[in-house]
Amino acid sequence: MRYRVALFTAVIALVMVATPSLRAAEKVWSGLVMAENAEKPHAAPARLGRIEKTLIELFGYNQFEVIGESNKTLKTGDEDWLASSKYFSLHVDAKGVTTGGYELNLKLFKDKQLLLETETKLSKQSPIVIKGPQIGGGQLLLVLIVDGDEWNSTQESQARHPHSDYESNQLMNAWRHLTRFVRNAWP
């Protein structure tokens, strides 16, 4: 009986340890977005659909247009890439994988002039939005989203159960802590 319990525990622990390594490579979408107010605003690009409401509330614009973008697949977490428009370019340099995301160095250039530099930890469940310079009557925004299952499932879950967010977070956190604990305890 004890041997069976020990075997069962070992199998569960093995699955928990092995699961992250089986995860597919993830894509990071980085975009240069022009936010403007239009009389007849057109729909936001699909990439921004899930955060459009937040962008409207935060920045006060009703139309968002992608003027430059990059969709980079991260395999090692050490890649770097560029999302460019005619005048601007966002250079993203991945510095490695952290628990739940990536460490990124971001540089916004206007032509070859560095306007803004930042060090970030981009979570798989949480996009980053950077307010750039004012351009005409609009605003340049830099948006980074990990295009993975976790972000999608989080957003879908939130759309289905808007009030159950806190409870599910607690359970998910507890589960992640447990899996991390087992993973760390594994020799």
């Binding site: 310079p133 005409g136 607690q170």
Partner: protein, 169 residues
């Protein structure tokens, strides 16, 4: 010196032996009648022993004895039943200790997660940011998180304003 009656009683009981037995049997006037009487006495003795013994078992001591035996039997049966159940005391202790340990573990993990001082690792973070002070000398930077939509925002103010042409793709 034993009397005849004493010797007779001892002979009936088979207590005489050796020379005394030989002398006594030789002194018997009718040996066959004596032997028959001895057999009858033995039968009577056996009968009395049997009957008196049965009588003894019918009194209250007998019932008390039977009752004690029955109680002992039933107690033994109950003890056997008790040892065959899965929930033995050591197992219950182990199960209780394991449940308590799991409860404490989960409580600690969940409570630690509620600590507002610790930034959630499931939200993106801005570790540091700077703007070019030559191009935008009055620029300021603020960081915050929109917890509702899980968006982390780097908010800049005072960056160089550019003409609309720069919005070109």
């Amino acid at each position: 010196m034993k009397t005849f009656e004493e010797k007779w009683t001892a002979w009936l009981d088979g207590q005489l032996a050796g020379r005394e037995l030989i002398e006594f049997e030789a002194s018997l006037p009718d040996r066959a009648a004596a032997e028959a009487e001895k057999r009858d006495a033995k039968k009577l003795g056996a009968l009395l022993k049997r009957e008196l013994g049965t009588e003894a078992l019918r009194n209250e001591e007998f019932f008390s004895h039977q009752l004690r035996e029955r109680i002992a039997r039933e107690s033994a049966t109950q003890d056997r039943h008790r040892t065959t159940t899965w929930w033995t005391v050591p197992r219950m202790v182990w199960a209780g200790a394991t449940s308590l340990a799991l409860f404490v573990l989960f409580s600690v993990l969940v409570v630690r997660d509620r600590n507002p001082a610790e930034q959630s690792q499931y939200l993106s973070q801005i570790l540091q940011a700077r703007v070019d002070p030559v191009v935008s000398p009055d620029a300021t930077i603020t960081m915050f998180e929109s917890k509702e939509s899980r968006v982390t925002v780097l908010w800049t103010e005072g960056l160089q304003t550019l003409p609309a042409d720069y919005a070109a793709k």
